[in-house]
């Protein structure tokens, strides 16, 4: 049992019970993705028409490997938060909504695990 009054327990948390954490994480990941996505496009451009071994050599560099990993993590985190809002806005049935919200998380974990595994295999 908490000694807090009911109002103190909910203050600032709002209807979602998570307060501004979703909003904040969306903005922080967006901020990270500004330089990371620009780097990603420049990187992709430099590898146009490259042989596989050139791509491997590029992604094996520690700076490039780390930036690629950061891009994947930040992009997928930002994606989960964004798609979650779209689902919450347009899907109103409780069952389909929960199913889609869970699928959204699973999709991100799957894509993230696949990308990071491939990156580790390339870089090491």
């Amino acid at each position: 049992m908490s000694a807090q009054t009911p109002i103190a327990r909910v203050e600032g948390l709002g209807a979602s019970h998570s307060g501004t954490s979703h909003f904040w994480r969306q903005r922080v990941s967006a901020l990270a993705l500004v330089p990371l996505s620009i780097w990603f496009v420049c990187m992709a451009l430099s590898l146009i028409g490259a042989h596989r071994y050139e791509a491997i050599a590029f992604l094996s560099g520690p700076v490039n490997a780390i930036l690629m990993a950061l891009f994947i993590i930040a992009a997928l985190h930002h994606m989960v938060l964004g798609v979650q809002v779209v689902i919450e806005d347009y899907v109103h049935g409780e069952g389909p909504k929960i199913a889609l919200l869970v699928s959204n998380q699973f999709f991100a974990w799957l894509v993230g695990a696949a990308c990071l595994f491939a990156l580790v295999k390339i870089a090491l």
Binding site: A30, V34, V41, L45, R52, M79, V83, V111, C115, F117
Partner: protein
């Protein structure tokens, strides 16, 4: 009172009709921001495919390159690059609003048109560089 007949037709204007309603710039960019966000979510599969293809071997990598170079692949990649560019520029507008800047209607309209123009320019520049400078398709 409760059984008052509902008018079946009215001469009053009803709420904005999609076909005659002029979309404000801010509304259009908001909708396109969502659409490009969803497109980019699907686009993560392309990034995953590319990385897995590099990790797997020459055959997998050649398959990816072949599909990327095809007409359909080029169209999808242009859509991906433009979506990323628009989501980036329009995302900067959102970060500005979140910091309390750019709320005036004139400013919001201008930055909206700017985001559309810059994103198209950026996507065209990326592809122009790919075709002209590199001399090859993606």
């Amino acid at each position: 009172m409760a059984e008052q007949a509902r008018p079946t037709a009215t001469s009053r204007p009803i709420s904005p009709h999609m076909q005659i309603y002029r979309w404000p710039v801010t509304m259009a960019t908001s909708i396109v921001h969502r659409a490009t966000g969803l497109a980019l979510a699907a686009g993560t599969l392309l990034v995953a495919w590319w990385l897995i293809a590099i990790a797997t071997g020459p055959h997998a990598y050649n398959l990816f390159s072949m599909v990327a170079r095809s007409l359909g692949g080029q169209i999808v990649l242009f859509g991906f690059v433009w979506s990323l560019a628009f989501h980036l520029f329009n995302g900067l507008r959102h970060l500005g609003w979140d910091s309390g800047f750019g709320f005036e209607v004139r400013t919001a309209n201008r930055t909206g048109v700017g985001a559309v123009a810059l994103s198209l320019l950026a996507a065209i520049a990326v592809f122009a560089y790919a075709y002209l400078e590199k001399g090859v398709y993606i």
